[in-house]
């Protein structure tokens, strides 16, 4: 009797584990009309997307999925597939191989850590075009793409600099990598362009995606006197923290005002759709090259979210003016003189930082309070 019961217990335990194996796997969904394959519409070009997070996260992966939907709407002869929550590393290689062997002609890999898997898989499938977001390695059939998000960060900094009363701003930052450091610097320059006395305090969370941790970090900044919270994270939690305290916030990735309507001033937002359409068209016309695209705001790949009601007309006018100069190419954010935290001039008057310098940013500009751990 006892043995029998133990047997059942073991069986049930196994069933539990099996249930997880079934439910835990990331979703793989083909959208568009599956039936159309049979109807003989064989000219449909298959395009695949690989995301690092879930599509509904309101952050990075969500912004790419909006782009995918835009592509599908604009080009009816394109069929898209996406795989979400794909961890960087060996899993990415497996997913990329699977997508390429299933007949996808263009694959967009949307996370930095997919870089080496993309290069590896691309060698095996020379007929497939791979586009890797945020990376820097290319191959004959691998291109990279990204947007100059620092331009939008600078503009959001102007709004924040005009809004602050305490002259202390907080920045919830994920990891001390050049992309994040560049954003913090651009934001700080924007803030201090209208408010030279303001400082930006940085707190590192060491996570892209953990609402409770991000909120704790934002709270600690608010407690230390910050009254505007900016962030380089994937969830709206830092903004919710600001809203709860009646303070302000700057979003990122997508328009996050629905999460904290009284707090969000504006924020950089991604708009990948037009770029995806352009790339797919180029591949179809055989004009595609393995370029390294780093699109400016003028291309609308990166933009700022609609202003909240608390943003004043003066700030709006200043932002529009700067934006105009950036779009026309008359001026860019990292134009000297720029001093570092110690007051040493790092970029001389009239000089512009090169793309290479911006892509390897490892120092903070004057006005940032915080340290880059190395």
């Amino acid at each position: 009797m006892n043995k029998f019961k133990r047997g059942i217990a073991l069986l049930l335990s196994f069933l539990l584990v099996a249930a997880i194996a079934l439910t835990g796997c990331g979703g793989n969904q083909t959208t568009g009309d599956d039936k159309s394959k049979d109807v003989g519409n064989q000219q449909k070009l298959k395009v695949a997307f690989v995301y690092v997070g879930p599509v509904g996260d309101a952050g990075w992966s969500h912004s790419h999925d909006q782009g995918r939907k835009y592509l599908e709407k604009e080009m009816p002869n394109v069929e898209t597939t996406y795989v979400e929550s794909v961890p960087e590393g060996a899993d990415a290689e497996r997913v990329l191989t699977e997508l390429a062997s299933k007949g996808n002609k263009i694959i967009f890999a949307t996370s930095f850590g997919y870089m080496d898997p993309v290069i590896k898989v691309a060698q095996k499938f020379p007929d497939v075009v791979f586009m890797h977001a945020t990376g820097f390695k290319t191959a004959p059939n691998v291109g990279t793409y990204f947007g100059r998000e620092y331009q939008a960060r600078y503009l959001s900094g102007i709004a924040a600099g005009k809004q602050t009363q305490t002259n202390v701003l907080g920045y919830v930052a994920a990891f001390p990598i050049p992309e994040v450091v560049r954003g913090i610097n651009a934001f700080t320059l924007g803030v201090r362009s209208v408010n030279p006395n303001a400082t930006v305090k940085v707190v590192w969370t060491n996570t892209w995606y953990n609402p409770a941790t991000e909120k704790d970090a934002a709270k600690s900044l608010l407690d230390s006197g910050a009254d505007v919270i900016a962030m380089h994270q994937d969830t709206p939690a830092p903004m919710q923290a600001a809203e709860e305290k009646g303070k302000f916030a700057v979003g990122y990735h997508t328009d996050m005002s629905s999460f904290a309507p009284k707090a969000v001033l504006t924020g950089p937002v991604w708009n990948w759709g037009p770029y995806y359409v352009k790339t797919v068209k180029a591949v179809m016309d055989k004009t595609w090259t393995n370029e390294q695209y780093w699109g400016p705001m003028a291309d609308k790949i990166i933009d700022i979210a609609p202003f909240g009601p608390m943003v004043g007309d003066e700030a709006k006018a200043l932002i529009m003016k700067k934006r105009d100069a950036i779009d026309k190419g008359e001026w860019d954010v990292f134009t000297g003189p720029i001093k570092d935290q110690l007051g040493t001039v790092r970029v001389a008057e009239g000089q512009k930082m090169t793309d290479q310098e911006m892509l390897s940013f490892d120092w903070f500009v004057q006005g940032v309070e915080g340290m880059i751990s190395k």
Binding site: N210, T213, K215, D216, D223, S224, A237, Q240, S373
Partner: protein, 310 residues
């Protein structure tokens, strides 16, 4: 009005400690009755996702909370059935429950990721008490669930150590055979405690998704269920000590960020490690005391009770 950094740190420490405190209270109940449940993390996740989904539908955080409590109870029922009725290994069953809860919550919550929630628990300062300098902002300027947690600590302590039922419960965890001989229904008491433990864990999960960071995302407990298990040991199976422990662990949790704002750099990985270091230290001390004074660890913890055939 700017508050001093220390008060701010302690006030956020209290709140950061609440989810692990609630989960630990439940685990204390179960372990006092002799059943280890390592499924806390899984039960919390199910509580978090169910609480979130129901709050969103019903537009009431209270309805969501009740649903989360019931969902936690359902999860615990699986563990109770496996370990009490079928006498399965408690550790194996608990681990399976955690993995199951992680997967199931991710599956259920898929379409709720990134959905804003308006029906949340909001801070309600206690009239009078919140005006006391230092004590007020630290303890009495939070949402209602925090005050409920205070109440539950006192209630559970009184129940365990000052009532006859509490004594019976502890007897079941110390020596089930003797308790059985004294006419107690060991199976019933263990079932009740494990299920009540699941209710606490469900509430802890709902605290995360409805009050702490009102949103749902996969694996949002981020290891808090395990810290709760550690907290039970840290608090030597005593609700009041668990409360102090949760305050301590919660403060460590938020301390790193506050230190960064003050310009002090300590590795966040070092701080994350601290609760476990202290737990190991307490475990060593508690085990030694057990030998001499028989406090702490329930004697029959982890041992399935087999009633002798008559």
């Amino acid at each position: 009005m700017e508050v001093s950094p220390w008060i701010a740190i302690l006030a956020t420490g209290i709140v950061a400690g609440i989810p692990i405190l609630l989960a630990a209270l439940g685990e204390i109940l179960a372990e006092r009755a002799g059943v280890i449940n390592l499924g806390v993390e899984g039960m919390m996740l199910i509580g978090a996702v169910v609480g979130f989904m129901v709050s969103l539908q019903s537009n009431s955080p209270w309805v969501g909370l009740i649903a989360a409590v019931l969902a936690g109870a359902m999860m615990a029922l699986i563990h109770a059935f496996l370990t009490i009725t079928l006498r399965a290994n408690q550790v194996v069953s608990g681990l399976a429950l955690t993995i199951f809860g992680t997967g199931l919550s991710g599956y259920l919550g898929k379409s709720f990721i990134g959905v804003p929630l308006t029906a949340t628990f909001k801070p309600v300062p206690v009239p009078g008490l919140s005006q006391i300098p230092a004590i007020g902002p630290i303890f009495f300027n939070h949402d209602l669930l925090v005050y409920i947690a205070y109440g539950l600590v006192a209630l559970l302590w009184f129940f365990l150590f000052r009532t006859r039922s509490g004594l019976e419960l502890r007897a079941v965890g110390e020596n089930p055979a003797a308790a059985d001989a004294a006419g107690l229904n060991v199976f019933l008491i263990r079932y009740a405690c494990v299920i009540a433990g699941g209710m606490f864990a469900g509430m802890a999960g709902a605290y995360l998704s409805l009050a702490y960071a009102p949103s749902w995302l996969e694996n949002m407990t981020a290891g808090r269920g395990w810290i709760a298990v550690a907290l039970v040991i840290f608090g030597v199976w005593n609700p009041t000590k668990a409360f102090l422990g949760s305050f301590f662990f919660g403060t460590i949790d938020v301390l790193g960020f506050h230190m960064q704002t003050l310009g002090i750099v300590v590795s966040s990985f070092f701080l994350k490690m601290l609760p476990y270091v202290f737990t190991i230290a307490v475990l060593i001390v508690a085990t030694r005391e057990t030998k001499t004074r028989r406090v702490a660890i329930p004697e029959a913890l982890g041992v399935p009770y087999v009633r002798e055939e008559r």
